[in-house]
């Protein structure tokens, strides 16, 4: 019970910081909007496969930016403070929940903007919204942990991209296969097995982060 309370407090701290600074939210929002606008200028309304590919690439880049900011903005002094007052596992779980919520919000915004600018070729919109929520959470979990590594290495987002892109390809491949199902008019089987696999992926990432984060934490 106490640990849940601690996690909620840490999560509230992140949200509050976000509201006060309004830095990463609006920063990433502007990033999303301008990138989608550039895409619109570059290719108008693309066909289904291109739309799908662009959408997931967009999610990837949003995630790198949004999640990286949430970890890298903590200064050294503040990290030392957290180190002395809270449990690393609570800290990591709170960060992951915060990043997942941020990423969910961002992916919904980008889905809306995609529909607005790049057309809406999806034949099962609700299914696609579900898939993109699931995808957003999965991607944000992986990148939360990588951001923790990159933050320890005192590097910028470039290191995170180098570490993260190869690791995220399998998940992205599964997500694209899943969302292709939402594009086609005929409902295809095989959705549930991919959902199950991705779910296992997420659980694995969660468990590994909880186990490994304490090692990154001590300095």
């Amino acid at each position: 019970m106490i640990s849940i309370r601690h996690i909620i407090t840490l999560f509230k701290k992140d949200v509050l910081l976000e509201f006060r600074q309004q830095y990463s939210f609006y920063g990433v929002l502007l990033y999303v909007a301008s990138t989608i606008f550039v895409l619109y200028l570059a290719m108008g309304q693309p066909e289904n496969t291109v739309w799908n590919g662009l959408f997931w690439m967009m999610q990837l880049f949003i995630c790198v930016n949004a999640v990286a900011k949430s970890f890298l903005q903590e200064s050294r002094g503040r990290q030392l403070y957290f180190y002395s007052v809270c449990n690393p596992v609570h800290f990591m779980v709170a960060k992951m929940i915060f990043n997942a919520v941020l990423m969910l919000l961002m992916s919904m915004v980008s889905l809306m903007l995609f529909r607005l600018f790049l057309g809406s070729p999806i034949s099962h919109p609700l299914l696609f919204i579900g898939i993109s929520c699931f995808g957003a959470v999965s991607i944000s979990l992986v990148f939360s942990f990588l951001a923790a590594i990159a933050a320890r290495a005192q590097q910028n987002a470039a290191l995170m991209a180098i570490l993260g892109f190869p690791l995220i390809i399998p998940e992205l491949m599964l997500l694209m296969r899943m969302s292709n199902i939402a594009f086609s008019d005929v409902f295809q089987s095989g959705l549930m097995s991919i959902v199950f696999l991705l779910f296992c992926f997420d659980i694995m990432v969660l468990v590994l982060s909880v186990i490994l984060f304490p090692f990154l934490w001590k300095d």
Partner: protein, 224 residues
């Protein structure tokens, strides 16, 4: 153990056996595959060795995280290095084979993509190591990444290829090769020649590199 000679001689013996029996021995006549099936002794064996070495590297990373001994970190990185070299060789032998059976060196097959991802993940591991200057910190953070990367790699190489269509032998079942394609003559050379031969050769390379690294570390310490 590392300085003993018998297993090095054994490795040479196994490899000589693989090369002579592998090129001269009989193979089942399969359409399309024909004589290229002999690539089993090289390409498939190298990927098996990659897998073995990455598992050893993982074990040393876990040991490092438990006991904080620098020697474990050196072992982990050297086994990962040798594994990546074998992976590269496996990728090259695989694409040469693909040129003669599928018609092209690279055809975006899920297995080829998986192999490329595996190599990229471990190249990122070396980049991460080099980006950190403090040796203790570099060892710890890269050990953490190694564990995480291995866990992410495992589904890429062993689960996803089973779900998607691929031209690679073994199709939807065993991701490495089709066990029905080979006969007892080939199985003999593969399990009792190629895999132990390449694995021991790789182990030899690793043991030399680990000894060099340990000595240079000792040298640095005595200079300080």
């Amino acid at each position: 153990m590392l300085r003993k000679n018998w297993w090095k001689i054994l490795s040479v013996f196994f490899l000589l056996y693989t090369f002579t029996a592998g090129f001269l021995g009989g193979v089942p006549e399969k359409p399309i595959l024909n004589e290229t099936i002999r690539n089993l002794y090289f390409h498939v064996a190298m990927w098996m060795v990659l897998m073995i070495f990455l598992i050893i590297s993982l074990v040393y990373s876990l040991k490092y995280l438990r006991h904080n001994r620098p020697a474990d970190d050196i072992c982990a990185v050297e086994f990962a290095r040798a594994g990546v070299v074998f992976g590269l060789l496996g990728l090259i032998t695989g694409s040469v084979w693909a040129r003669y059976t599928w018609g092209d060196y690279w055809s975006n097959d899920p297995k080829q993509i998986g192999a490329a991802i595996a190599l990229l993940i471990y190249l990122a591991y070396f980049v991460l190591r080099n980006s950190l200057t403090d040796p203790d910190k570099s060892a710890r953070i890269s050990a953490v990444y190694n564990v995480f990367a291995f866990a992410m790699l495992f589904p890429t190489l062993w689960i996803i290829p089973r779900l998607v269509e691929s031209l690679h032998p073994g199709g939807m079942g065993n991701p490495a090769f089709n066990t029905k394609d080979i006969d007892s003559r080939m199985r003999m050379i593969f399990y009792f020649g190629a895999i132990p031969g390449w694995a021991l050769l790789g182990g030899w390379i690793c043991s030399l590199r680990i000894r060099i690294q340990l000595l240079s570390q000792l040298n640095q310490e005595s200079n300080v």
